[in-house]
Symmetry: C2
Subunit: 143 residues, 2 copies
DNA sequence: GTTCTTGCAAAATATTTGCAAGACG
DNA sequence: CGTCTTGCAAATATTTTGCAAGAAC
């Protein structure tokens, strides 16, 4: 995604596209997996964690990102849906317990679960855990 | 579950049933939902958090409990399966964003997902989020 | 008496806020 | 100017460890 696309995306969510926000959104778009605060901090380098934190909080309020809890805490992922009134792009994730990476299984949607009707479901978090292909093969690595 | 049952359960997992361990296991068995460290601390009162933490760590190693991440961090739940070589009693949970409670939907098993065979899946975490029936009705409560 | 367990304190992490300076309009 | 954004420092909260005293065997 180029800068202009990122800016448009941010604007579509009623957020003013400041320099930092563009950097954070770009970092998220650049990875193909959800990122933790720490990963974003590392990857970006130039922005203080409080800034990243506030940016992510804002993004989340405006439904530009959603959060996901794997075993290592909270991760942030750009919402893929263009209808930003509902976060309907949830898919299954795989968290590798060896390398700590969380992989999107974008082609696997979260299965529908029917609950008694007095439950109001707003989002879902489905994470499979185990060993990813890479770690399974190269047994001794720790990326 | 009475004390003797708890003790037996602990022993079946090759853990020495000390006083603290019995208390922690009982607290977990007494609730019908997974508990966080903080909740256990509150509920138990008599044991220092480091003790609870170490007990839970041990329980987890011995597969007496498993962990679950909802939006509020890690929660611990007794494994229901009697075959403790594998944690096969995973079910869906519902996390209420109003009252913060996490409810077991014990009758709803986590759906099977078939991944490419080089993924080794060891466990799964499936949490639905939204508003629980109680909070939906009594709009203004915060239990 | 040797090993295991526990409580306390404190270290290590992670998350969140206050505030003043700067950017933007 | 007045408002919004940012970086730094610091407050909070959470998780984890070191260690010495006590319990178990």
């Amino acid at each position: 995604m180029n800068d202009q696309n990122i800016i448009d995306l941010i604007k579509r969510h009623d957020i003013k596209p400041t320099a930092n926000r563009i950097i954070v959104a770009k970092a998220l778009a650049g990875q193909h997996c959800p990122m933790s605060m720490a990963e974003l901090e590392d990857r970006i380098g130039s922005i203080d964690k409080s800034g990243i934190f506030r940016t992510l909080t804002l993004f989340k309020e405006q439904q530009l990102v959603h959060t996901l809890e794997d075993g290592d805490g909270v991760r942030y992922e750009l919402c893929h849906s263009h209808d930003h009134s509902i976060d309907n792009d949830m898919h299954v994730h795989f968290h590798c317990e060896k390398c700590g990476q969380t992989i999107c299984l974008e082609h696997i949607p979260i299965p529908e679960i029917s609950l008694p009707e007095d439950f109001q479901v707003q989002s879902a978090n489905f994470v499979l855990k185990g060993t990813c292909p890479k770690c399974r093969n190269h047994r001794h690595q720790k990326p």
